[in-house]
């Protein structure tokens, strides 16, 4: 099962390697991992997308909690939550493809944020499935490069991760 785990961690050097080292040492999957400081600069927030049986997910949260610098851990995918990911796609845009790409961007509510004679950079945010859908909707031969930020997420409403 796919889970989205959010955690707050002290913003110390090496904190990221403690988390990534834990996943590799214990053979847990990481689908994506994002990290950046929060409004409180002394703390970073990480979002980890992982897969595993209930037993494994239970161990993952316990092991994360056990890391001395980890302040709080929640599995936000246990209840209503929102996930977003950012993708930048550079596509070849010449001739009739120029119009076609613009149309696709509009359909997906993406934005074209860089334009040259031969290319566009398209910015798209959404959940993973939306980004996947966009990628499969456009002609793969036209994709020059893509970069995805990995998922970040928050619980809905009263579900707040804060110290």
């Amino acid at each position: 099962m796919r889970h989205v785990i959010s955690l707050l961690i002290e913003n110390e050097s090496g904190a990221l390697s403690r988390v990534s080292g834990l996943f590799s040492a214990r053979g847990y999957n990481i689908e994506s991992l994002t990290v950046a400081p929060t409004e409180d600069a002394s703390m970073s927030r990480m979002t980890i997308v992982t897969t595993g049986s209930d037993d494994i997910i239970e161990q993952i949260t316990k092991q994360l909690n056990k890391l001395v610098e980890v302040v709080k851990v929640v599995d936000i995918s246990e209840a209503a939550h929102i996930e977003r990911e950012l993708m930048l796609t550079k596509v070849r845009a010449t001739g009739k493809d120029r119009e076609e790409m613009k149309r696709m961007a509009e359909i997906f509510r993406a934005r074209i944020i860089d334009v040259t004679d031969t290319s566009y950079v398209i910015e798209l945010t959404g959940n993973q499935t939306k980004l996947d859908a966009f990628i499969s909707a456009i002609d793969p031969a036209l994709v020059l490069e893509t970069v995805r930020s990995g998922v970040c997420g928050v619980g809905r409403g009263d579900r707040i991760l804060k110290v």
Partner: protein, 569 residues
């Protein structure tokens, strides 16, 4: 007061009431050694190899209730320490390791004797720190000691660059530590404890299974009280020996791979299992699927939530300091008139005693050749069962755990989790320094002892009257046993040729050496050795080369599928 970083390090150790530091100097820690030189509160024990420094500090901690401290230089000093750190980590031993690092400006430059110590040790410490500013040293060391000894204990490493140890700042030792990210649970959940007590009272085939946590929590007294109050059978893991008196009737011996028949049968067929400070290790429960076949309710008390429901699903988890939880269980039981039904308990004991009557620890003694079990039994007699016994890893370790009966905690020091050959002698050093008057015996094998034999020199320098009992079978015995049983008797590289004359070797280091070849000489030699109160005596027992450790649960087999003796093969 303005002090250098190095002076601050030593002042912090003084504040923590550290009496011994085990270490080895080098370039990156020269300022710290200089600061050591100028005081006499913290005594330094110069070992002959950094691995032994960490093991000795670990042995010191295991034999006391204190944090062990080791000091090593950067690069090779730190890498030599890694085995020691990992050994302590696997058995949750509270330690602080201070390592020197190259100067801050040189970090990342592939400088002389530079390794990423924090990176290398990360997976085998409870936590580690790189101190980049002299003003952070005191607070970091304070945190290191706090982390090492609270919650689930473990080793904490503090890496200090050379320039940081030379810089100066005002010294003040923090009174307290508060870390928003680290708050181990101490008090167990009342409701869960009540549920547990209820289950225990209603149990038909109850069993208590305890481990190293009881020793670490200094809760042997509480455990004994609870166990007597309930009248249940009890087993202690290899790490928990002495947590409950082994000579007591309720004690069934050790569980697991080389545990007793009665302990394993009672574990397996129990309907309520109370696990306390034990982590359902694979060497203890055998094949987890086989273990899960019998339905039973499991209550698990542990301070580390990640120990709970890791390998075995638990019905009543209780997170907390087990001393606190045991006290609460006792309180609830004493406040309540209900007791386990004597008839049901009686018939369970009848079953348990029937298992016990198999006498699985019986062995065939000999007049011709020394049996290792016999040596340990004699060691127990000669020391009045009151020695601190350390061991290395192998068959001798199992025989020591099976035939020396430990009635008190912190008398049995060995590497259970990592199984590190070479710990025996350094553990004995740490234990002897921590307990100057105590009888300290190191039970070892001819292979293990050679992994840290250089420490005979340290023992001479610090006059440590350890008694080394070398169960010399000229084999990597434990390896040979597996090859005999599971690899078609193909003894690949498990024979030890060209062994030194250990008695002479001991003498060369300035100690007493004895070679014992006949069963009739065993007791006399032990008596002579322990009568020499001020000497280290190396007893080289030439034992039966082909003796195996039984009972045994083969890897992958269930707890009840035991080989009880050679006849079962």
């Amino acid at each position: 007061m303005v002090l250098t970083g190095a002076e601050i390090v030593i002042r912090c150790l003084q504040e923590e009431k550290v009496d011994y530091v085990f270490g080895y100097p080098g370039g990156a820690v020269l300022y710290i050694y200089d600061a050591l030189f100028n005081q006499d509160k913290v005594r330094h024990v110069l070992v002959r190899h950094e691995q032994a420094a960490v093991h000795a500090a670990d042995g010191y901690a295991r034999s006391t209730e204190n944090v062990g401290v080791a000091l090593v230089t950067s690069g090779p000093g730190a890498t030599n320490a890694v085995t020691g750190i990992a050994t302590a980590y696997c058995d949750s031993i509270p330690m602080v390791i201070i390592s020197g690092q190259v100067p801050t400006a040189a970090i990342g430059q592939d400088a002389f004797q530079e390794v990423d110590t924090v990176g290398i040790t990360r997976p085998c410490v409870k936590h580690n720190f790189l101190v980049k500013d002299v003003r952070d040293i005191a607070a970091t060391i304070k945190k290191a000691f706090y982390l090492a000894r609270t919650g689930r204990p473990g080793p904490v490493l503090v890496d200090i660059p050379k320039d940081v140890s030379a810089h100066k700042c005002e010294f003040e030792y923090p009174k307290e530590v508060s870390m928003r990210s680290y708050n181990p649970v101490v008090k167990g959940h009342q409701g869960q404890i009540r549920k547990a007590v209820q289950l225990l009272l209603e149990a038909k085939r109850p069993m208590i299974y305890t481990g190293g946590g009881v020793v670490l929590a200094n809760a042997a007294e509480q455990l004994t009280k609870l166990t007597r109050l309930l009248g249940f059978p009890i087993t202690n893991t290899l790490m928990g020996l002495g947590g409950y008196p082994a000579s007591d009737r309720q004690y069934l011996g050790m569980p697991g791979m080389h545990g007793t028949y009665e302990a394993n049968m009672a574990m397996h067929y129990s309907d309520v299992l109370l696990a306390v400070g034990a982590r359902f290790d694979d060497r203890v429960i055998g094949n987890p699927d086989h273990f899960a076949e019998e339905p039973r309710k499991i209550i698990h008390v542990d301070i580390d939530p990640s120990s709970i429901s890791k390998r075995v699903r638990v019905d009543v988890p209780i997170v907390g300091d087990l001393k606190d939880v045991l006290e609460e269980m006792i309180r609830q039981l004493e406040a309540n008139a209900a007791r386990p039904n004597p008839d049901t308990l009686g018939s369970w004991w009848k079953q348990v005693d029937e298992w016990r009557s198999r006498e699985c620890m019986k062995y065939k003694n000999s007049d011709e050749i020394i049996k290792p079990q016999f040596v340990i039994q004699k060691l127990w007699e000669v020391t009045g069962g009151d020695a601190i016994v350390t061991s290395d890893v192998g068959q001798h370790q199992m025989w020591a755990s099976q035939y020396y009966r430990f009635d008190k905690p912190r008398r049995w020091l060995n590497s259970g989790g990592l199984g590190t050959m070479g710990v025996g002698l350094p553990y004995a050093m740490g234990a002897q320094l921590a307990n100057p008057g105590a009888q300290v015996a190191c039970v070892t094998g001819e292979a293990s002892i050679q992994m840290n034999i250089q420490e005979l020199s340290t023992c001479k320098q610090f006059r440590l009257p350890i008694k080394i009992c070398n169960l010399n079978n000229r084999y990597l015995g434990m390896v040979r046993q597996w090859q005999q049983l599971f690899h078609g008797e193909r003894y690949s590289e498990s024979y030890m040729d060209s062994l030194p004359d250990f008695a002479k070797l001991a003498e060369a280091y300035g100690h007493v050496g004895l070679k014992i070849e006949r069963p009739s000489d065993v007791e006399g030699a032990l008596r002579e050795a322990f009568a020499r109160k001020n000497d280290l005596v190396f007893l080289d027992f030439q034992i039966d080369q082909t003796e195996n450790v039984y009972p045994m649960v083969q890897g992958g087999k269930g707890l009840t599928e035991m080989i009880l003796s050679a006849e079962d093969l």
